[in-house]
Symmetry: C3
Subunit: 315 residues, 3 copies
Amino acid sequence: MQHFTSVQDITDWSLLWQKVQQVKENPQGRKTFGAGKAMCLIFLNASLRTRLSTQRAAMNVGLDTVVFDINQGGWQLEMADGAVMNGSKAEHVKEAAAVIGSYYNLIGIRAFAQLNDRDEDYQETIIQQFKKYAGVPIISLESSVRHPLQSLTDLITIEEYKKKERPKVVLSWAPHPRALPQAVANSFLEWMPYTNYEVVLTHPEGYELSDEFTQGIRTTNNQREALQNADFVYVKNWSSYRDYGQVLRTDDEWIINEDKMLLTDSAYFMHCLPVRRNVVVTDSVINSSDSLVIPQAAHRVTAAQTVLELLLDHA
Amino acid sequence: MQHFTSVQDITDWSLLWQKVQQVKENPQGRKTFGAGKAMCLIFLNASLRTRLSTQRAAMNVGLDTVVFDINQGGWQLEMADGAVMNGSKAEHVKEAAAVIGSYYNLIGIRAFAQLNDRDEDYQETIIQQFKKYAGVPIISLESSVRHPLQSLTDLITIEEYKKKERPKVVLSWAPHPRALPQAVANSFLEWMPYTNYEVVLTHPEGYELSDEFTQGIRTTNNQREALQNADFVYVKNWSSYRDYGQVLRTDDEWIINEDKMLLTDSAYFMHCLPVRRNVVVTDSVINSSDSLVIPQAAHRVTAAQTVLELLLDHA
Amino acid sequence: MQHFTSVQDITDWSLLWQKVQQVKENPQGRKTFGAGKAMCLIFLNASLRTRLSTQRAAMNVGLDTVVFDINQGGWQLEMADGAVMNGSKAEHVKEAAAVIGSYYNLIGIRAFAQLNDRDEDYQETIIQQFKKYAGVPIISLESSVRHPLQSLTDLITIEEYKKKERPKVVLSWAPHPRALPQAVANSFLEWMPYTNYEVVLTHPEGYELSDEFTQGIRTTNNQREALQNADFVYVKNWSSYRDYGQVLRTDDEWIINEDKMLLTDSAYFMHCLPVRRNVVVTDSVINSSDSLVIPQAAHRVTAAQTVLELLLDHA
């Protein structure tokens, strides 16, 4: 595996699952694997799980890590080719990527969607520029379009908890007061064709995701129908892709509550966190024994460590 | 010792002092003690000594550490049970604590008093929530009420410099332009019953601390009287507990100067730092050979390393 | 070598070049050299290369490092002797330096020129205060006057790429929309007398640097004349020293473009980065195969590691 920026980067699925298993069984078993190598994690946006789990994963393989909040401690980056840089941006991504790639063996980068210009966001410019100019493996810590470390985590979690060969997995939109990116939902759906789950996507009208990710996915605007006999309910808000970056509704009709969970086959509740309690999901559901949010978040270390081990073979 | 959030957490004082001695003699003697474990230090407020000394202490025991300025790089935390989270707070402390506790073997957290609502501050909510939900040992890096790493440091320093069995230790309020928490003073007094020092507390009227900490402590509003024959003068400003969070006076009557130090028995001058020179204490006193502020601050590493070693036995 | 804050700190040049060679050949060859020691890097200003290369260099010698953005996570420092500290500055540099020096074996510090008061800036107060009070080796990560890690990097790069014994090295001013410090240019010139290069300085009228650094350096206001037969063109903007901190012109007459590079003897293009493309230098020049900006930046690790190894012998 050369980079880890989307599901397409995975070259050997059986090796991936073999690594997942090894990491789960003995996370401290390869403490010197990263010796003499170092990673730089660049954040343009807030992070709790990604920041802390990726650092812990790096420690587990003996990989030195620096964290760089580039907009606070560094320089604002220019992305455009040919720009006359006489504004607020002091450094071009071409130099930043190449320089950091000359210092570090691996680079992770988080750059959320800005939610202003859909075409710009969906080009994933910053992560593509880093892939082009850094010369070292790039790990997406969530791009404007995808969050593959989260998706791998989600698969690891479903695999661990599933009670049947082909569980029914429902991805449901839920309300939120702020405009959020589509990355987690896009990415989750992008990984689904690599499983044999029965997948259903449900959201209100206007919240359709890009065709690129929903092609072949059963979709309905009827949340209750979608939840029937579900084994896993994955809940996530996103802003509109059609009316790009807009919040079309904030009413609580789509909140996940106990009543809706009763429609399922005692489904597990999943969410990538952070979650707004009593807006996205009621306390009673997230506090219940069927809520997987903490073990799911804990598997962020499993996923990151697996990815690091696969990339270090080539770093 | 399961946590380190107040003097009450200490289960074995003789083991504690034995560790202090070992650490003082050979801080690098246990470089692999923390191997395979990792700590997360969470800061909601500024810090110099705590941030830097706790990291150094962790290095000394081979414990990997990440520092997380949660309000800058992470999400604002909701503390209230049952909150409908449709405001500015994106994550509940229940998830944050449990997730970080799933990644790290130890958690340190600093959360100052807000000085708006006394009852709220004195519940020490955030540190109590972390103790409840994180599932790993919690270290107070200064809560809204206490600063136990500072208090342990203070004791280590007094023990090292005392010239008699039962030294007279005076805790004196001093002026300051800003409203500061009561944590250092509360905590210092809370530790005093575990010593055999002669303790005197002195402050102007209106600056009484909570009964919880002053019970049984000799107290006077006459600073000069308190300083008579003192062996150690510990100086600290705090805002009013009665008129909660208020600065009642900023005149220089209570400044510590050479004239006042002459009343003492050649007392050592102590302060937890940062200190405002020529407001809290004159240059001549803090620059004198009786000023312990630098060796005292240096013992923050001794204290942190002792606490880490005691907690790691259970982490 | 006791400190590394200017070229005058270098006590043994042949040892320096011997170390440079060793580090270039085998950067991972001394992984345990810093064992049991630790360094604190303090930033008062933004940094990409310095922050990331110095950390990587420290990893390469097994030196534990903490990074401290003191204005974000710490306290604002008072510099003035005798100050009555009743304003916004909570801690005096005397305490901060001594305390950090008691925790860490080495301290790096970055404190840019403020560009308001020339005399104040040119006293390099903060770095001098750290040298005076910290009690451990101090590394300049760029002071208000000098940037010696950059200058060592520049020399390492020129030595590696020079094709003749005595190359012609031109330092040329270039335009920039913002007021920048003179540190990189000052420092570059300060190191030149320790080489046998033919050095020419060129800048528009009004951009003369301090005599302290230009004494004995051939200088011209004719950029094209300066570039004739150059082997290396080092480009950098700085604000006026005479009209202190002022930007006297922002037109593009002094930009480095292909046309000007044709005057040289196929010179290499150098810049310390970050660089504003198409303001300081055209895309065609910085993208060309004669541009050394990336290998030059990469040598920041070589320079930092060399300095760390020299200082660690005394830390």
